[in-house]
Symmetry: D2
Subunit: 416 residues, 4 copies
């Protein structure tokens, strides 16, 4: 059976294929080598399943799509505070200011614009790093995200550096405000090479899937980033990622996203998916014309809009309630978030236990949030205080320890 | 057993209780009657369960917290296009512009600032409506959202109207640009009365829960708004709701929110929760000091940040796969979103059917998205094309019709 | 003999007569009654001679051309410091801000924009003044400036007040920032009546001539304003008077100017001329199309550009040096400015006095600046210290006292 | 006798000597070598007389004070249109924009800010010029302005170039918008050398005097610039010259001016004076603290404010009216501007000629404007048409030809 999801992705590509508006930018020679008709998409679930359609294996330079990934790397290496020293997290709005520096402290408004991305690049491997070492660290990280060794388009890097007046202007300005310490040329060199990583939309989907998956590469299972880093990165993408006005993108598409000048576009649904498209023709704002179309389709047709009220979780956290001898066995499933825990507690409160023991079976729980675990344990303690025995079935130690707040332990229901 | 969730909410209040920074604004007399120590919280799940702690029953004027609700009402009454005619959806950033009108067309930047809210208020009940009729419609709607008859603080309405120079300035400017047609005084009168609805945090939690629930009041079950209206409203709140800079709020809290000058603050998690707090002391930006604290706690401790990668859905969409005679019965559960459907299809593709018939049991599915249903049906069709009989268990017509794309019907597995 | 200057003015009108671009604004009914072909000019020297051509006797409402005059009146009544409290003196540039209030203190940027003019209007006759009394004071002042009783176009005042949403918006905003204390409606009423004074270009030329003449009405000889007030008013006009960008107007025309929506345009050359034109069709910036043309012609062809390096003064301050018996008689003429005094001193220093007495004849000096007088006296003292007798011919006490810095008196040369 | 003007200048220096606020900038090494107590002034009349006081012979780098001179050179070399291609003429206001480029076309707002000055520097000697040749042309011009060979502070040039991140940022941005074609480094090198010319305040006073004198170096008499170029330069200085807000400087001082980071400050009174001061301590806006004080004194005490209504010209244009036989001889003097001509015509019109011939003696006229000459000739023609003989005494051909508009010639009064 041919894969249905890939078929759907292919259908979406077909829907937008005839939208040939937009232009390939001509100021970078390597970009002009792109086939304007390229059209590809890939999607990677947090479970590590990848679907693709169209030109999913075409190699192109990553360009600005690298920004969120290197931002995440800087957050992981240096921590949020240090990164906020060199780049804020506010949308730049209509770019009234050529350099998009904050009035008050001359820091770039956010890491998704060039000024911020150049400043963030300089944090990688320490400010004293050589360009070579820094670029090595960056490529090593990008390669781990993609799950394969990424190469640099050397010709593109050289070409862009030669035409980098705007970025050199930015780098000199950043230096004049002590945001970066490296020579302007070196800073731009380093950033330009970051932008020259050769990727496919399949790569980008997996890389995005890693961010959506809290930092664990969903295919290789390698832990690359902390969940907090991913959350911060997705947050900044949601307000600053698209050259489009922030509010409009959030309303119309509702997926944190980032586009690049080579026609790439990525998006993430936290906990669910990474998505990437390729279509080289850009609109005047610099976003891929058909890439934007595809994301609008994905948002509307597939219900991927983050503000969609149909994204209910919980609602089936209690898989079953069974009576077995002296036990009432409550079997949970899914992810125990706060919302799921609330539902579980509601269910437990509504039960009229007639048994002697209440057993919570969490063996089907696939993940849990600390607040969710805390709530379950607290509720068990209350059940015990109400006079029942309690126990858990927890073969994978999902509860991360069975100690209650009164110091006692929840026994394992080893007899089940 | 005392309710654990309410206890947690109480703990969060205790955590912030000593944070007595901020001031009660003095320019509106009625606000100065507030007790600065008021501190309350309420939470309403999309299942209609309400939890509260602290001063949850104190009545206060709704003020700017009314904005998202009346925006939703206008969207419901007039449609998105008409509403966009009078208010955009971009963050106003640091309010460089007293009036926050867009340069290009002199429309308010968004409906969460006064200019936009006054313009949106004027859409309700038609531009020709009398102030009385318009206010009646508004109060009727707010009352339905709250599930009880809301009253107006007449004294506050009169007092604010007398000191409404800023709003009158805005209204005259809106008139001069033909955004509104009513007399400036009447427009401000109407808006001021909207702001004078008396509510509790319990009311606000239920009202917010309605938006989070796709427009169905979760306690009364009354359908008040379309899901698209709720999505649009939450989207605009996520980028424009807090006087705080949009990007920072999204990164630190990650919950679409709206604050008001009387100390109220609401937030929604789409599909999950409505939340409301009350604490009258405001920070210089005009947000409730302890309200912001509480939301940061909720976001961090309870894992309610929208960009949290721990919000996994799907993952347990297939409740069970059972062999029963000639049937393989696949029982689904939860909400069939795209992500859930992807998981289901993956499961189905990985199964090696040895039975003659494949039965999809959707009786435990609590909701489904159109794309999810489409994917299920398409997959069933492919299974049939692969040589199997197919059937569904769908007592509640969750699949909204059983016709496949080839025109045939999926039979009901009536024998099960 | 027909007057040559008037003929020249007529020629300039003929040069621009065919330039029929621009539109009469339609938002004020009274303006639409204007004949778009009206074209008039008048010029008034500081000696009180008036020249005119074209439609110099047509009555029209003064509108924004009243702003510099009422600004001067406020300066005269309240002093610079008080006036700066309510309006700055910076150009508003491209009006990015609907209200053109300063970021830092919410004061109008300058008195030549509506916000500033409304605020300045409120200073006249004290903030507690009734509208009637304030308007009376204003009309009394404008009438003295014009040298005839000016009337109000009552119909226009009423009409404009009805359509004054923009000005009402401004007035409410000014009230909200405590710039004005009067009710917004009254403030706009007062300002609108100021704008409704009926004038001819002849009136405006004489009124402008008064400002150019240091505050002495050049025809009636009445002293209405202090020279410092006129200097301040002309300065502000030079940077803020034209809706056109400040720098461009200064470079192309170089005459402090102010235009009005009814097609009036005034300009002043300090110490020399007041000029006024009427042509109702406006360019998109709101300036009279042919009025601007005329001023460009006046600037270029007549050499009236303030930055023209051909404006040499001094150069003939010493009328003659005569030997008469034991006297060397130095006869001065013209205005003894610093520059003229420098020339005089240079001449005196270069003379080789062989006489016993040096007599300075200032009877032909028509005016003198304090620094010029100080320099003359100091130089005389030095001449006496060098061993010569000194004396002056000063029948009109042009030297304002004959005391020297050493306490002695310069004797009058009564024998001459 | 000691020179009185110099004494006055010395007194003004003494008045401000104790004002030791401000700081010497430390980012350029050569600037830190300045003695903070340096205080000097020089003044040069358009007649070529130079007065000075204090540290008038101290050498310092010209820095931004070079901007108006090189702007004038570019205007002279390329014409206004070409220069406007690379730099506008609007004040930059409070520098909200790091680069002060116009939104619409990314051109620098004016030539008095670094972006504009760098762009204008690139015009000199053609865009293809080598840096060496361009700098040679610039130094040759500056030397002619000063009347002596100026030298470059090579050490300063090298030092500034090393720390030129801000200017390099600007140059790269200008290149990215095709405002300049040279390599960014070369452009900044060229501009930095321009800024490193070593001058005294005496030099600057003479150089400024040249601009005030319509382009003729007042000491050497060499014609270096056209009057239109000087007018344009002074106009732009009047609105954009001081880092201070344009309107405030115009109101308080009223003298077109330009300051530099090394503590220099120049000003011009068109047709009258060039002025220069030196005092190295700068206010936060970057202007010399005591330099600004001195200019305020000069403006107030010496009456040099351009908007001063005491600057009357004309008023004594008719030196005498004499009857001699059949002749009425009208002797003119001074500069025949439009205003002077108006006065002359008024006088002529008021005379009741009883003679047969009217003779206009222009031998004492020191200069005349084309409009003034045209008016005199036209008036003579009318006198002849009224039946009188006419003749002129014009030994220096001040009238530039004696042909009248009817084709006839005015005879010379050779018999006088």
């Amino acid at each position: 059976m041919h894969n249905l999801i890939s078929d759907y992705l292919g259908e979406i590509l077909d829907d937008v294929r005839d939208h040939v508006d937009g232009e390939i930018p001509t100021y970078i020679t390597s970009l002009t080598k792109a086939d304007p008709d390229w059209l590809g998409i890939a999607m990677c679930t947090t479970s590590g399943r990848v679907y693709e359609a169209g030109d999913a294996e075409v190699l192109f330079t990553i360009q600005s799509v690298s920004k969120p990934f290197i931002y995440a790397l800087a957050l992981q290496e240096c921590g949020l505070e240090r990164v906020l020293d060199v780049a804020g997290m506010e949308p730049s709005g209509e770019a009234f200011n050529e350099l998009s520096l904050r009035e008050e402290d001359k820091r770039p408004l956010n890491p998704m614009i060039n000024a911020g991305a150049i400043a963030v690049n300089q944090l990688i491997n320490g400010e004293d790093s050589s360009v070579e070492d820094r670029v090595d660290v960056i490529f090593d990280f990008l390669s781990k995200l993609a799950g394969r060794e990424l190469e640099m388009d050397e010709e593109s890097a050289v070409d862009e550096l030669e035409k980098a007046d705007r970025n050199l202007s930015i780098a000199h300005m950043l230096r004049s405000h002590d945001v970066i310490v490296d020579a302007a040329h070196d800073a731009v060199d380093s950033y330009t090479r970051q932008c020259s990583a050769l990727v496919t939309v399949r790569d980008l989907a997996v890389m995005s899937g890693t961010l959506a998956n809290g930092g664990v590469q969903p295919v290789t299972g390698e832990k690359l980033l902390d969940p907090e880093v991913c959350r911060q990165t997705l947050s900044v993408m949601s307000s600053c990622g698209m050259y489009d006005a922030a509010g409009r993108w959030m309303a119309r598409v509702g997926i944190p996203a980032k586009s690049g000048v080579s026609g790439g576009l990525i998006g993430m649904l936290p906990g669910q998916l990474g998505i990437a498209t390729l279509s080289p023709r850009l609109d005047p704002a610099g976003n891929s014309v058909r890439g934007v179309d595809v994301f609008e389709d994905l948002s509307t047709d597939m219900g991927l809009h983050l503000m969609s009220t149909e994204h209910r979780t919980g609602s089936h956290a209690v898989r079953s309630v069974d009576r077995s001898g002296e036990d009432t066995i409550i079997t949970l499933q899914g992810v125990v978030t706060f919302t799921a825990a609330e539902e579980i507690l509601h269910k437990l409160n509504s039960l009229d236990f007639v048994s002697e023991r209440v057993v919570l079976d969490v063996s089907r729980v696939i993940d849990s949030h600390s607040m969710g675990r805390r709530m379950l344990k607290e509720q068990l303690q209350r059940i015990r205080e109400a006079g029942y025995d309690i126990a858990v079935v927890d073969p994978d130690a999902e509860l991360r320890g069975r100690q209650l707040s009164d110091g006692s332990q929840i026994p394992l229901a080893e007899d089940l």
